[in-house]
Amino acid sequence: MSEPVYVTGIGVVAPNGLGVKEFWSGTLEGRSGIAPLTRFDSTGYPARLAGQILDFDAAEHLPNRLLPQTDVSTRLALAAADWALRDAAVDQAAMTDYDMGVITSNASGGFQFTHGEFRKLWSQGPQFVSVYESFAWFYAVNTGQISIRHGMRGPGAVLVAEQAGGLDALGHARRTARRGTGLVVTGGVDSSFDPWGWLSHLSSGRVSGAVDPDRAYLPFDTAASGYLPGEGGAILVVERADAVARRRAPQVYGEIAGYAATFDPPEGSDRPPGLRRAVELALDDAGLRPGDVDVVFADAAGLPELDRAEAEAIREVFGPGRVPVTAPKTLTGRLYSGGGPLDVVAALLSIRDGVVPPTWHTTDVPADHGIDLVLGAPRNRPVSVALVLARGRWGFNAAMVLRAVAGDAESVRV
């Protein structure tokens, strides 16, 4: 019934590194992808810093056929899916098409593509709007395009829950694998850095207007003044244990051992926010106790009130300063649907390498937060259980527990 589900392949598209290797070395070395927006002329906007992917040339990674019909977010998702499948050494042709599913998350759809088509609609007329707008805008488009490209005809789904959605997708992928689909491609990728998309970010009132790229997004710091939006994310290959064994997957990064999602009560309610409950439910689901957790990858909203609420949830579950907490997303910005999956990648690599990346840029953490935030430099320590947290605007909470696989990949093949 609860057959273990493992991560066997990873594809990363992040502002501080394309590909797993670049992303991870950048994350450990403090290489930041935060810079003033260059995708359009952002002069005059009240906030201009973002985590942009500047070294991705879609034509280099994707067939020419896909370019006229895809938004930049879908191009990034397709490339990440290619890399994850290659990393997991999946031979799609040798597998049953109905035994491969695709479950992704997306928070903003194909903004830039749509912006371009709207411009044509208003300036030239409806007959000039691309027929591909019919799906290029859509939250489900990444799932659809990945499924078509790789001939994956098993269950397909998309989850939308702002920044929490990426963990929800991974959780649903695990459920889908347990229900009988051996392999699921999953994760989340977002990008919305056209002027319309950028204004939509700013309308939240939560984006930092600071101008120093190293001082603008400082979660848990006394100087926290908002977050920075980023683009990209991660796509993973997850497989049920027996499928991993059957096809002799080249590696297992870890097990998706626990997952839970909760909603916050309505504004004005006297009930507490749902993050703590998500953590407790995810630990229960994994059959673990707080003391088993070696590191927490925080949601790290970067706003004093939300940081305080997250610190409180962590403190209450684990005890003051009892577990290392980190947020390497200060180097990428918040990636919406891509944020959770990218943190899961960082957690799995922490498990692999026995090192916790720090929360770069944050320096001054108030003592009353009561959390052991990893600062300044990577911390070497064995990691066998990692907890990843994500909160989405409008009340979404998700928590995921990643666990090291005892021994090596060989041991899951029995």
Binding site: P63, N64, L67, P68, Y132
Partner: protein, 84 residues
């Protein structure tokens, strides 16, 4: 009198829906089914929209989907342009 040539159509197809490195859209494709060239119904609807913009000939969506080769499209466009 022809208003639209095979080369015009070739250009529009590639513009609308790209080209495979493997399929020679540049070759003699006049009678090759669109399906074999890798252009699906959406690619053809997009192509029809561009043809209308460039050549002023409107091909209704249901008619476009009946046209299975480049030659069939050229015929339909040029007949319509000639008022046949």
């Amino acid at each position: 009198m022809s208003v639209m040539t095979l080369d015009d159509l070739r250009r529009i197809l590639v513009e609308c829906a790209g080209e495979d490195d493997s399929t020679a859209v540049a070759g003699d494709i006049a009678d090759v089914p669109f399906e074999d060239l890798g252009y699906d119904s959406l690619a053809l609807m997009e192509t029809a929209a561009r043809i209308e913009q460039r050549f002023g000939v409107r091909l209704p969506d249901d008619e476009v989907l009946e046209l299975s080769t480049p030659n069939a499209v050229l015929d339909a466009v040029n007949k319509a342009a000639a008022g046949v």
